[in-house]
Symmetry: C2
Subunit: 272 residues, 2 copies
C-alpha cells in the first residue's frame, strides 16, 4: 500500500514536471515567440489632398517628379511633398506650446513606445461637438480598471475619426483662414483634466481622434500648455481607436525626426 | 533501500518541479514584462538642411511659421517643410521601381515590424567605396549563424553612416544635378545577391547605411528592381547599425503614410 502511494505520488510529480517542462521549453529552449506576437492595428490616416489640417495651416501637397518607364528600361516613380508639421495624423512636440521644451527629434523613444490604455467618451462626444473630456471620465475608467499605470500612453476615443475627412462633421467647418477658427467645433480634453493628469498620474504620452487635444472652441490652448510643459507629447487625428481594447495593448508612435521640429507627421500603430 | 531510492527520486522530482514553477510564474502568473522589454536604439538620421539627398532630388527645407509668445500669453511654434520622398532616412516603397507594386501606404505592417538580422561588410566596404555586397557575404553569415530566418528584416552594415552628413565621404561628391550622378561612389547590394535573396530566402524588408540599395555607380538599379518587384521594401540612409548585434533583435520601421507615395521619411528603431 505504502509503495502504491509512493508510485502514485511519483507519477503525479512526473506529470506535473512534464507540464512545467513544456512551459520551460517555450521560454528558454525555443525562445519567446518572435516580435510582434499580437495583431498590429494602424492608427494612422493616410496623407493626401483630403488630409485635415488646421484651418490656417498649409495643407498636404504631393508633386509628381517621375512616373513611368525610363530610357534605361526600368520603371521609376518619385514625388516631392510640402506640408505643415501639424496636420493629418501628427504629433505635437512639447516645444509646440512650451518654450525650451523638447523638439520632436528630442522626444525620448520611451515616451513613444509602450503600454497603453483607452478611455471612451464617444457616447457623450458624438452628441456634443464641444464636449470636454473631464476628470470624471478618467476616474470612471479607474473605478472599473484600476489606477492608470505609470508610464501609460493614454488614448481618448471620441468617435470623431469616423467623420474624417469630412471637414464639416470633423472640424465643424470647411472654411479656411483666420475667420474660420471661431467656427471650429470638435471635442477635446478639458484644461482641468489635463492638470489632473500631470499632477496626479505619470503618463508618457496622450492621443486622440480629433484635430487637437484642446477642443475646437479653445482660445488659450490650456490643455496643450499643461501637457507639453511637462514634456508629455500629444498625438492628434489618430484613427481606428474603436478596434482597440480599453487596456492591455501597446502603442508604437514614431514621428518624422525633424531637427528642431515642433511636431510632424506621425505613424502610429497598436499591438494587441 | 528501495524506499530510500524512492525518497531520493521524489526529492529530485520536487526540486525539479520547483525550478520549473519559477519559470511558469514568470510567464503565466506575473505576465510578460511590459513592452518594450529591451533597449531601444534609434536607427534614424534627423532631417535638416544637412540631410543627404540624391544629387538630383529636392532637399529638405524647414520654414518657420511661428516662434514666440502670442498676444494671448502662451508660447507657440510651428513650421512647414518641403522634401523629396527619397532623402535622409527613408523607405523605398515597391512602386519606386516596380509598376503596379505596393505604394508606401500599402506596405503591410508585418513587413515593417519584426525580427531582424545584421550582416557586417564594413571591413571590405570602407576600403572600397564601390563595394558590392555579394552572395558570399550572405552565405558566410549563414555558415556561422544558420539560415536567415523566414520573415527577417535584413540590415546591411557598410560603416558609411559614420561619414553622414559629409557628402564627399558619404556620396563620393558634394556636387549636385544630373552631371553629379556619374560621380557617386558608395557601397550597395550586388544585383546577384538581390536575386539570390528573392529566389532563395524569404525576407520581409532590407535596409542599409548608404544612400541607396544599389551602389553609387549603378546605372540600371537592378537590385532595386529585383527586390521591389517582389514587394520587399528597402530602408536607406539608416544609422547606428554598429550598436546592434548580428541577430536576436527586432526592428520597427514606420514610414510616413503618404497615399500613393513611392516612399517617404522613415522612423526606424531597433529593440534589443
Amino acid at each position: 500500500m505504502k509503495n502504491i502511494l509512493l508510485f502514485i505520488t511519483i507519477a503525479l510529480l512526473v506529470l506535473g514536471c512534464q507540464n512545467n517542462s513544456t512551459v520551460k521549453n517555450i521560454v528558454s529552449e525555443e525562445g519567446p515567440k518572435p516580435f510582434p506576437n499580437g495583431k498590429i492595428i494602424d492608427l494612422t490616416h493616410t496623407f493626401s489632398r483630403e488630409s485635415i489640417y488646421w484651418v490656417t495651416a498649409k495643407e498636404f501637397e504631393l508633386d509628381t517628379v517621375a512616373y513611368g518607364d525610363t530610357d534605361n528600361g526600368f520603371f521609376y516613380s518619385a514625388n516631392n511633398f510640402t506640408t505643415a508639421e501639424h496636420g493629418g495624423t501628427h504629433i505635437d512636440a512639447p516645444i509646440h506650446f512650451a518654450k525650451n521644451a523638447q523638439t520632436v527629434d528630442e522626444i525620448p523613444l520611451e515616451n513613444l513606445i509602450g503600454s497603453a490604455i483607452k478611455i471612451v467618451v464617444s457616447e457623450k462626444a458624438l452628441k456634443n461637438p464641444d464636449y470636454l473630456i473631464s476628470v470624471e471620465d478618467f476616474t470612471d475608467w479607474e473605478n472599473t480598471n484600476g489606477k492608470i499605470p505609470d508610464g501609460s500612453i493614454v488614448l481618448l476615443e471620441t468617435g470623431y475619426s469616423t467623420f474624417y475627412p469630412d471637414k464639416i462633421k470633423y472640424l465643424g467647418t470647411d472654411e479656411r483662414g483666420p475667420d474660420a477658427v471661431a467656427k471650429l467645433h470638435f471635442p477635446g480634453l478639458s484644461p482641468e483634466a489635463a492638470k489632473w493628469l500631470v499632477n496626479n498620474r505619470n503618463i508618457h504620452a496622450i492621443g486622440l481622434d480629433t484635430p487637437s487635444i484642446d477642443f475646437g472652441q479653445s482660445k488659450l490652448f490650456e490643455s496643450h500648455v499643461t501637457l507639453l510643459s511637462k514634456n508629455i507629447p500629444a498625438f492628434e487625428n489618430v484613427t481606428n481607436l474603436d478596434k482597440l481594447p480599453i487596456k492591455g495593448f501597446s502603442v508604437i508612435a514614431l514621428p518624422m525626426k525633424i531637427k528642431g521640429g515642433s511636431g510632424g507627421p506621425l505613424r502610429i500603430v497598436a499591438i494587441l
